[in-house]
């Protein structure tokens, strides 16, 4: 009997250790994208630090930056957007989120309202196999972080049709055990809770510029979305859910290069908002972004576009809601840390970036001062895309009507913009670099010097005299932080 008891005890110990080893393996091997996105949600929700939830698809992920919102308005928010998330996925995402926090406002983007796909794994409803796989894979980003409970089971039951695919969401190890070959430092740091996480509170910033977005015909009467879809059904459920819980909700349609069906969906979203008496912001109709510089691709905003949309929403929320300004509050020190972290990231991106279009776009976002000089007869003057970027910075059309040379000095420290072209000279420009003077002399020689240091010609270097573009970035202390030379190679500007 004694031996039997000892054996039972040993077996229990073994099973406990085995369970621990398997649990550790599950944690290490789990794909971390979802944890990466939501770790700070759980942390901040626990502290009741979330004022606003932004719900929706990848359009939201790229359009709303909670760090901007905190930095500019002191409002705390979390970007719950999911890549490829249709409104039924958004609904369940909100259900899950509301288990952890009660925000002051919920902002729901209505992109993909027209989608009439009931189950995300229904192969008959998608155009091809890849779309189904992408749809299922993207749902993992939304779902993996939530613990396994009745709510998650209900969500998966509602979103997924195939039993084996459901199991992939409920018991993720069956798919993630294969990740052993992709393990990295973060996978192991998850055990100690020190893994990397999204410091933008769920947002993701993109840094490309879509120079030539496609434009679509305006919506006509015959294009309107009149039928109910799975998207409209779940949008209504979302509104009802918020209203049941007494949480104000605002619907949005963030800007992008919208085709006719998107425009029709945006109109329908407005009708639903009206039916439920909730506010609606259709940014397709508002002049919030510049389509030619603020898109990363035809559907997603880049960081500059995100700044503009977040600013707009910040302004709107500040007026509509009763939000405390958390800036300077010690309890929100982590938010401030994330602001600084992101600003440093922006600096890094700016200085690492080789693409002149993106660099100029980012300079519109950053507080840096810069000098842009373009040689006479440079191909830049035939490049409408780059000229558009310059116009965005100079706020004038001067560059459009010249063949150079051209100079733009944008000095944020004095809030002055100076511009000259061809034989124009400018003197006594007040900048952080000093009092600058500009004088073009000949094709490959020009003068830019300060009264304080007249011996330094900022625009001439013998080793770079053939490069036709110069970009000098300097800070408010008058320190030059970067001086780049670019050569035009058929529109491909090489640093």
């Amino acid at each position: 009997m004694k031996k039997t008891l000892a054996n039972v005890f040993k077996s229990i110990i073994f099973l406990c250790l085995l369970g621990l080893a398997i649990a550790t393996s599950i944690v290490i091997l789990k794909r971390k994208e979802s944890d990466y996105k939501y770790t700070d949600f759980f942390n901040e929700a626990k502290k009741d630090h979330i004022d606003v939830l932004f719900m929706g698809s990848s359009h939201v992920i790229n359009a709303i930056n909670p760090v901007f919102l905190f930095e500019e308005y002191g409002i705390t928010s979390y970007n719950m957007g999911g890549h490829g998330a249709m409104l039924q996925a958004t609904y369940w995402e909100l259900r899950e989120a509301l288990e952890y926090c009660t925000p002051k406002w919920v902002v729901v983007d209505t992109y993909m309202l027209e989608k009439n796909i009931r189950y995300l794994d229904n192969r008959e409803e998608f155009d091809d196999e890849d779309e189904v796989n992408t749809s299922v894979e993207q749902l993992h980003l939304n779902m993996d972080a939530w613990p396994l409970n009745d709510l998650k089971r209900a969500a998966i039951d509602d979103l997924i049709q195939d039993e084996s695919v459901k199991n992939e969401f409920l018991y993720e190890f069956i798919i993630y055990h294969n990740r052993w070959k992709y393990l990295n430092e973060d996978d192991f740091k998850t055990i100690t809770g020190t893994a990397n996480r999204n410091r933008l509170f769920g947002a993701e910033m993109r840094y490309d510029v879509e120079l030539d977005p496609e434009l679509y015909p305006d919506v006509t009467e015959s294009d309107l979305l009149t039928e109910d879809t799975v998207g409209t059904e779940y949008l209504e459920k979302i509104i009802e859910l918020c209203q049941e819980r007494g949480i104000p909700v605002v619907l949005t349609y963030y800007p992008f290069s919208a085709d006719t069906k998107d425009q029709a969906a945006a109109i329908r979203a407005g009708e639903i908002a009206e039916n439920y008496d909730v506010p609606y912001i259709n940014m397709l109709n508002l002049d919030v972004i510049d389509l030619y510089s603020d898109l990363n691709d035809h559907g997603h905003l880049n960081v500059v576009g995100s700044k503009k949309v977040t600013d707009y929403m910040g302004q709107w929320l500040s007026e509509a809601g009763d939000f405390a300004d958390h800036r300077g509050d010690d309890d929100y020190a982590y938010w401030q840390e994330c602001v600084e972290n992101f600003n440093k990231e922006l600096d890094d991106v700016l200085f690492d970036e080789d693409n002149l279009y993106i660099k100029l776009d980012l300079l519109n976002l950053e507080d840096y001062n810069f000098v842009l000089y373009v040689n006479g007869n440079s191909p830049v003057f035939l490049d409408s895309f780059l000229k558009r970027m310059i116009v965005n910075s100079s706020m004038s059309d001067k560059v459009e009507s010249t063949s150079g040379p051209y100079i733009l000095i944008k000095d944020n420290s004095t809030r002055q913009i100076y511009e000259a072209c061809e034989s124009e000279e400018i003197y006594s420009m007040s900048t952080a670099l000093g009092t600058l003077n500009y004088r073009p002399v000949e094709q490959y020689f020009r003068l830019l010097y300060s009264d304080e240091d007249p011996d330094t010609n900022y625009l001439y270097d013998e080793s770079h005299y053939l490069e036709d573009i110069q970009l000098i970035i300097y800070n408010d202390d008058g320190e030059i932080v970067e001086h780049d030379y670019y050569k035009s190679n058929g529109g491909n500007y090489v640093r």
Binding site: F14, L18, A21, L29
Partner: protein, 489 residues
């Protein structure tokens, strides 16, 4: 329900737990019920064939026993022939009608007219028919007394760990155990579980990983030329070993934790120094069955050299056909028979060479050479076993001989489903398998050594093995790791 399924992982502990608490004299009833449940869970129609076969075996066994008791036992042979004929007829109806139809129509030049005549694709029919036939012959010979209890006979035929892939146990080993099953103690439990874990490792980590590469090469053999094909043939040689041996270890381990001792089925086969030696170590339950119930009744080696060679060829042709209803399997079997006959024919010459060159027979180098030659012959024959047709087998063999050693270094090997990481795990798995066989070959049973270690070492090994199977095993969505290769036979 398969051994590699979540249902089985629930089923097995329940069966073991209840078996543990049931009184000894009733355990066989529980095991019979669970065995039928296991089989029905795979295919209800096949279960009908199984139950009918058991009923027939029971009836013929009783008839043979009664006839033995009669004065001159004059009808015994007739009853046995009838019984064997009936069971072989069932086997043919379930497995070989397509093959016969296809062969006959091909000879008539109308191969494409085949419509598929097999009555049922019955799981494990080849295995349990050999058990039944062996039982009836044993009863006829008087080696055992016919089983009076139909449930016990039914359990012998349908015992769930063995039903789909063996080992093809003998009635005289199994039936007494059903009467007096062992009480499973803690040591038996640990021993059995370790054997099961080893079986799952072989199957999920090694065999199924190798299968990915092999299947990719064999699915389009014209594309893979050179060393990639050669590697595929080598991988298949190990795939079928680790797959089948994996199953056998699981079956033996499960039997052990149910208190039933089952014969070993593999004993380091690829370390054999001859083809005859290979068959003493590969699928032992089948090769001994063929020896006892076919080779020896045919006359074995007692009727002269020529007859011995003919008997060998017959036995291996039957073995090939038993494995699968296709000429590729027949060729595989005949090749093995041919290798053995040639081995015997050339023995004087080989002995002469050994004398002339003063080769020390027990020298490591000589033994290694014999093992390598045997391995390559076995490897060659497996190509026919794996190929979907004789033509495909010839293409694979031809491609294997194209000399492209750079493919070992230029990444070509990673284009057939296994990336470098998976390839690395496959190679590590193979090294573990080979190392284990090498120490087992020298009489060192790793499982027993592990069980003699201190508790923390045992725990570490056990936990590491289970976690390794879960992590590195080929299972989950996108993989069909449930089916074992030999199951199709």
């Amino acid at each position: 329900m398969q051994f590699v399924s979540k249902e089985f992982l629930i089923f097995l502990p329940v069966v073991v737990a209840i078996n543990y608490i049931i009184p000894r004299k009733f355990k066989y009833i529980w095991l019979f019920i669970t065995s039928l449940f296991f089989y029905v869970s795979v295919d209800v129609k096949s279960a009908v064939v199984l139950v009918a076969s058991i009923a027939l075996a029971y009836g013929f066994g009783i008839m043979l026993e009664k006839n033995k008791a009669s004065e001159n036992n004059k009808n015994g042979k007739g009853i046995l022939i009838l019984a064997i004929t009936v069971h072989i007829a069932i086997l043919i109806a379930c497995k070989y009608l397509n093959f016969i139809e296809k062969t006959v129509l091909s000879i008539a030049g109308r191969g494409e007219d085949a419509i598929g005549l097999n009555l049922l694709a019955t799981l494990g029919v080849s295995f349990y028919m050999l058990k039944i036939i062996g039982y009836l012959i044993d009863v006829y010979r008087g080696d055992i007394i016919a089983e009076k209890n139909p449930i016990k006979l039914g359990l012998y035929v349908s015992f769930f760990p063995q039903i789909t892939q063996g080992p093809i146990e003998r009635a005289k080993n199994m039936l007494p155990q059903f009467n007096f099953p062992l009480t499973v103690d803690f040591d038996m439990l640990r021993n059995g579980l370790l054997e099961i874990i080893w079986g799952y490792f072989l199957k999920l980590v090694v065999a199924d990983r190798l299968a990915i590469y092999v299947n990719n090469v064999y699915s389009d053999p014209e594309v893979a030329v050179g060393f990639t094909t050669l590697v595929a043939t080598l991988f298949y040689t190990f795939e079928i070993y680790t797959d089948f041996a994996g199953y056998s270890h699981i079956a033996i381990g499960i039997s052990r934790i149910l208190g039933i001792d089952v014969m070993d089925n593999f004993n380091c086969p690829y370390l054999s120094g001859s083809i005859a030696g290979f068959w003493r170590r590969w699928h032992i339950s089948l090769s001994t069955w063929l020896r006892d119930y076919l080779y020896i009744p045919l006359g074995g080696n007692r009727k002269g050299t020529a007859r011995k060679y003919i008997n060998i060829m017959i036995v291996f042709a039957v073995s090939g056909l038993w494995h699968g209803a296709d000429w590729t399997f027949v060729v595989w079997g005949v090749l093995h028979g041919f290798f053995q006959v040639i081995g015997y024919v050339l023995r004087p010459l080989r002995d002469k060479l050994v004398d002339v060159f003063k080769v020390e027979r027990n020298a490591f180098s000589h033994r290694t050479l014999k093992i390598m030659v045997t391995f390559l012959l076995v490897n060659f024959a497996w190509v026919f076993f794996r190929a979907s047709s004789l033509g495909q087998a010839l293409v694979i063999i031809k491609n294997s001989f194209v000399f492209t050693p750079w493919m070992l270094a230029d990444g070509s090997l990673f284009k057939y489903g296994l990336d470098s990481a998976d390839f690395f795990v496959a190679i590590v798995g193979l090294i573990i398998v080979i190392a284990t066989d090498l120490v087992s070959y020298n009489g060192f049973i790793i499982r027993e050594r592990i069980l003699k270690q201190g508790i923390w070492i045992r725990y570490i090994i056990g936990i590491a093995a289970i976690v390794a199977i879960l992590v590195f095993g080929i299972w989950g969505p996108g993989y069909d790791s449930a089916a074992f290769i030999y199951q199709q036979f």
